[in-house]
Each structure stands twice: as structure tokens, then as C-alpha cells.
């Protein structure tokens, strides 16, 4: 009986593994390709690279800042075909973390071949996922991007040091998914005359420019405000200024 049990369990395991493999198959076939959205980080004007642990001067507030953490969510990526139909990538949640190399490349497999004229993406995490319980992957609470005491995702986390801050440091935890405090922003990109060509089994690249200096586009310098830890009007201004400052750069096929 015990032997039968073990061998039967083995068959179950083997069969379930093979059936799972079929379900989870993500290898691009000839009918789909991969899009890689490359988030290039620049400071202020587009010629200065933005890196952690690098002293930077803000072009508008003149604050001197050295970032030690910069993380943000991008989600719900869609592509529009020339015929007006959309391809929506299911369950696409990406955590860009400047301390994790490679996280700035958002890889989207299984995009049907064709010519795409537009892209849509959401900065932040949609309200549904903020109230959906324990998540995994980019949305896992162990990424330290979820408020423990006031449920919801920290959608942008910027921390570092600055001589202009009274405390010598700054920490902006920006989020909010409800009512007037909702920071979640959907951005559209038109590929401006070009189109994104998806070829079977190949990878096409969309290059974006992300400028963290935009956080202070219309917000007070660090001497006035060096910390935000919860949703609210000031968090919304900072987050949406940052989100709206993200620019499409070019397509690379």
C-alpha cells in the first residue's frame, strides 16, 4: 500500500508538472514578440544621468540632494495597433528600484506581432490592488512599498541626504488611491509618426526618460518640507508632477 501510494504520488507530481508547464509557457512564438520598456533616469536636463549615492543640485530649488533610495511602480501597460485595437498585458506590475540593476527594464512578453502606434501605462498601483489582500512579486509587502498602518502602496519612494534639510535627510513616501488623494496616473505615449513593430520571437525596445527632479517641479524645497509619509495633497502634487514628467524618447527595434 505504501509503495503504491508513493508511486502514485510520483505519477501525480510528474503529470501535474507537465500540465503546469503547458499553462505557464511564456516562450515567444512566431505570433508574438517581446517589448522592453527601458526607463532611463536623468536629472534635470536630459544630459545628466541620475544615480543613487550621487550628489545632485536641483535646477529649481537649488537644493543639494544625494539619493539613497529611489523606487516606483509602473503598471497596466497597453499597446494600440494601427487599426485602433488595444493589446493589454495582463497583470503587469513593475517595481523600478534604482538599487536593483535590470529593474529599469520592463519586459513584456507575448505581445502579438504587428504595428503599434501608441502605448498607455499607469504610474502607481491601481486602487483594486490596494485593497486586494496579500500580493506577490512586485506587489509583495516585503518590497517595503506598502504602508503597514494605513493600507496602500507607496507608489514612489525617494530617500536620501541633503544639507538643505533641517534633519540632514529627506524621505518622500508618496501614494494614495482614494478620492482626492489618488495619485495613480495613466500616461499615453504616441510614437509620433513612428510605429513600434513587433516581430515574432524578437524583442523591440521603447525608451523612456524619467526625471526624478520633477518631484519638486511645483513643490517646496527641502528646507520647507523634507518628509511625506502618507497620502494627501502635497503627496499628490509631488507624485503627479513626477509622473507627468516622464517622457517618451525613442523606439529601438
Amino acid at each position: 500500500m505504501k509503495n503504491l501510494f508513493i508511486s502514485a504520488a510520483f505519477v501525480v507530481a510528474a503529470l501535474s508538472m507537465s500540465s503546469c508547464k503547458k499553462d505557464d509557457d511564456t516562450t515567444p512564438t512566431s505570433t508574438t514578440g517581446t517589448v522592453e520598456i527601458n526607463m532611463a533616469h536623468r536629472w534635470g536636463n536630459s544630459t545628466t544621468n541620475f544615480l543613487l549615492n550621487m550628489e545632485l543640485v536641483h535646477p529649481m530649488t537649488n537644493d543639494t540632494l544625494t539619493f539613497t533610495t529611489f523606487k516606483y511602480y509602473v503598471s497596466n501597460i497597453k499597446f494600440k495597433k494601427a487599426d485602433g485595437t488595444w493589446y493589454t498585458h495582463p497583470e503587469s506590475y513593475f517595481l523600478v528600484d534604482l538599487s536593483t540593476s535590470g529593474s529599469e527594464i520592463l519586459s513584456i512578453p507575448n505581445v502579438p506581432i504587428g504595428e503599434y502606434t501608441d502605448m498607455e501605462y499607469t504610474m502607481g498601483v491601481d486602487s483594486l490592488q490596494n485593497v486586494a489582500g496579500a500580493q506577490t512579486g512586485a506587489l509583495a509587502v516585503s518590497n517595503n512599498m506598502f504602508w503597514s498602518w494605513n493600507s496602500g502602496y507607496i507608489m514612489v519612494k525617494a530617500e536620501g541626504t541633503s544639507p538643505n534639510s533641517g534633519s540632514g535627510s529627506f524621505a518622500f513616501h508618496l501614494g494614495g488611491f482614494m478620492g482626492t488623494n489618488n495619485v495613480v496616473t495613466t500616461n499615453s505615449v504616441n510614437f509620433i509618426g513612428n510605429s513600434l513593430t513587433i516581430t515574432g520571437g524578437k524583442t523591440s525596445e521603447v525608451h523612456m526618460i524619467v526625471n526624478p527632479a520633477k518631484l519638486w517641479h511645483s513643490s517646496a524645497p527641502l528646507a520647507t518640507s523634507s518628509s511625506i509619509m502618507m497620502p494627501g495633497a502635497t503627496a499628490k502634487t509631488m507624485a503627479t508632477d513626477f509622473y507627468n514628467g516622464i517622457m517618451f524618447d525613442h523606439i529601438h527595434e
Binding site: 501525480v12 501535474s16 486586494a132 489582500g133 496579500a134 506577490t136 509583495a140 509587502v141 498602518w149 493600507s151
Partner: protein
């Protein structure tokens, strides 16, 4: 009991993804043979909606209830491994013998004897709560445990560390494999297992419940107490769960700078000084009372509602200037409140610490 206690669920999500009929039959055979050997284990265990309760808020969506997951959650609830120095378990401040409140202290001690400013609330019927904590800041039973684990004045631990510690434990790797088919511990599975244990904390067998269900009778004093309760208290302490799960300023203070309560979460000044209307189940055991544990006896609580109401702009209008209860009325209300003690809950073996 519904199908939630079916041993079929023990095989988890992957079971349902299998497509082959042969495989299905084979597995079914195995399950039946397993279930036959362990049938007693399923007796009395499971999630159910007491007939006089409303529909639960939490329905185990994306967290199929299984015995292995519940058992894992139960182990975690009683294990101080969740805290940074392995001294504080959930059960340390939520003891079954005290209706899952702390051991009659106003403020619980966290790691390094840290102390907070709110009383550890009694826990029961958590699957009916739309949100959690005295200020309602936590919106889901599955993300609840993240708060005490990471709070510096409670367990003072990081989720990554907890996951690493559990991944280094052969005991837990085995438990996670049984629960989720994979020995690798993830924070998601950890939180979901704890949620299963918490959601099965069902208290519905007090004398009050039996009275409502027509299974027992009340004394004259209990009846009078219930009548007074229904007149003065039940608009907030809604039956049968004895909470509307709303938030109210119940006239304790007029200055809320020390703790804004609900206002901290909503950032609406109209919510300052409001706290969760607590459930009163097992209330005679869960003292001290109020969000800051300022009252140690039900007598003090009744005195407060009788003639201790402090006026302020966010005071709940139903409290007015207090109810001016007579001594007899107070005594009868307390006699009624004692009927909310649920001995079966306090002794429920499935909710007790399991010896490993």
C-alpha cells in the same frame, strides 16, 4: 459547515488545474484514502456562518481554505519567530483565555519592552470586519499581520527577515510545502495562512447567542440588561456581532492631539477622536476597556456612559450628555454583558497553541 472543511481543498489550487481525467480519478482515490485515516481531524473544524450572523466580509477569495494552511497560520500565530528577537508572538498580546486580548494590561509590551498608546483589542469574528485596528487603517485581513510584525513598538521585524528565518527552518519549509505545494516561504503565503487562522476565530456560542437562537432563557436581570442595551448601546454595538464596525468619539476626551484615532487615517478633522466601536464579545474577560485601556472594570465603563461624557465637536450625537443610568440599570447591563462570554470559543481546541 460548508465545503470549506472538505479535505479536497487540502490539495490546493494546483489540484484544480490538472486536466487529465485519469489523474483526477487517481488523486480522488488518494484523497479519499487519506481522509479515511484522518477523518477526526476535520470534525468541528472549518469556516461557517452562524445562522444568526450576517454574511461575512472575507470569503477566502484567492486564499482557498485548507486545513494545512490554517494549521500553518496557527503555528505562526503562536510562534515568536515573527518578532525581531524571537520574544513576541501574536498570542503574547492576544491570549485565547482572555478572548484574544492581552492579559489585562492597558498597554502591551513589544520587543525591548516598547510600549504603545493603544490597548491590544480582543479578537473574534474577524472575517466580518471590513477593516482593522482602532483607526481602521488596515483594509484587508491578509495584510493585517504586516502591521504588528513590522511595527517598531510591537514585533519590530522586517518581512524579509521573517521570510528568511522561516526559510531556514526545516519545520516551516515542510509546513509551507504541505500548505502551498512549495517549501519556499513567501510573504504572501505567510500572510494568507495567518489570515486563515484569524478568519476562523468565530465566537458565536455565548449564552447571548443561544438566547437569540431560542436555545436558552435569560434571567429577569439579563432580559432587562438586554433591553437597556438595545435602547442605549446597540445602535453602535450592533447585534449580533455587537459592533457596527464603525468609528465613534465616545466622549472620553476633548483634546485628541495625543491620538487622533480615525482622523489619523482619513486626515479628516471630523474624524479626530473617533475610534473603532469594539465588539463586546467576551467583554467581561477583555478588560481594560477603551482604545487606551483607561477603564479596568465594566462599572467604570457604565459610569462613563452614564455621566462621564466629555463634550467635543466630534462627540457621537447619540451619547448626548450621558444616559444617567440608575445603579440597578448599570448592574443589569453588566449582567447582560456577561452573557457575551463564549466558553466554547475560549476553549476551542483548534484555536489553541498546538504542540509541535
Amino acid at each position: 459547515m460548508n465545503n470549506a472543511n472538505s479535505p479536497l481543498n487540502d490539495r490546493g489550487d494546483n489540484f484544480f488545474r490538472m486536466k487529465h481525467f485519469l489523474l483526477f480519478s487517481l488523486s480522488l482515490f488518494l484523497l479519499i484514502s487519506c481522509a479515511k485515516e484522518k477523518i477526526e481531524e476535520y470534525d468541528g473544524w472549518g469556516f461557517y456562518k452562524p445562522s444568526h450572523f450576517p454574511e461575512p466580509h472575507y470569503k477566502f477569495e484567492k486564499n482557498n481554505l485548507t486545513r494545512a494552511r490554517f494549521d500553518l497560520g496557527r503555528d505562526l500565530f503562536y510562534d515568536p519567530i515573527l518578532s525581531s528577537d524571537s520574544t513576541i508572538s501574536c498570542a503574547k498580546c492576544h491570549a485565547q483565555t482572555h478572548g484574544f486580548a492581552d492579559h489585562n494590561v492597558n498597554f502591551s509590551l513589544g520587543v525591548n519592552n516598547s510600549i504603545g498608546k493603544r490597548n491590544s483589542p480582543a479578537l473574534s469574528n474577524l472575517a466580518w470586519y471590513p477593516n482593522f485596528m482602532w483607526d481602521g487603517g488596515i483594509n484587508h485581513i491578509e495584510t493585517f499581520s504586516f502591521a504588528p510584525i513590522t511595527n517598531p513598538i510591537e514585533m519590530h521585524e522586517t518581512m524579509s527577515n521573517v521570510v528568511a528565518k522561516l526559510n531556514a527552518s526545516s519545520y516551516y519549509k515542510d509546513k509551507f510545502k504541505k500548505a502551498y505545494g512549495n517549501p519556499t516561504v513567501t510573504d504572501q503565503n505567510l500572510l494568507k495562512a495567518l489570515a486563515q487562522f484569524m478568519a476562523l476565530m468565530i465566537s458565536a456560542e455565548s449564552k447571548y447567542d443561544n438566547y437569540v437562537l431560542g436555545k436558552t432563557t435569560f434571567s429577569a436581570a439579563e432580559k432587562n440588561g438586554l433591553q437597556l442595551f438595545r435602547t442605549h448601546c446597540a445602535s453602535c454595538h450592533t447585534e449580533p456581532l455587537t459592533s457596527s464596525f464603525g468609528f465613534a468619539n465616545n466622549g472620553l476626551d476633548s483634546d485628541f492631539t495625543d491620538d487622533l484615532g480615525r482622523g489619523l487615517v482619513t486626515q479628516d478633522p471630523n474624524d479626530n477622536g473617533k475610534f473603532r466601536i469594539p465588539s463586546l464579545r467576551n467583554v467581561s474577560l477583555t478588560y481594560p476597556y477603551m482604545h487606551d485601556g483607561r477603564f479596568f472594570t465594566l462599572s467604570q465603563v457604565l459610569d462613563h456612559y452614564s455621566n462621564g461624557i466629555v463634550q467635543s465637536s466630534t462627540l457621537d450625537p447619540s451619547l448626548g450628555i450621558g444616559f444617567n443610568f440608575t445603579t440597578q440599570e448599570k448592574q443589569d447591563i453588566i449582567t447582560f454583558l456577561n452573557t457575551l462570554t463564549d466558553q466554547n470559543y475560549l476553549a476551542n481546541p483548534y484555536l489553541s497553541e498546538k504542540k509541535k
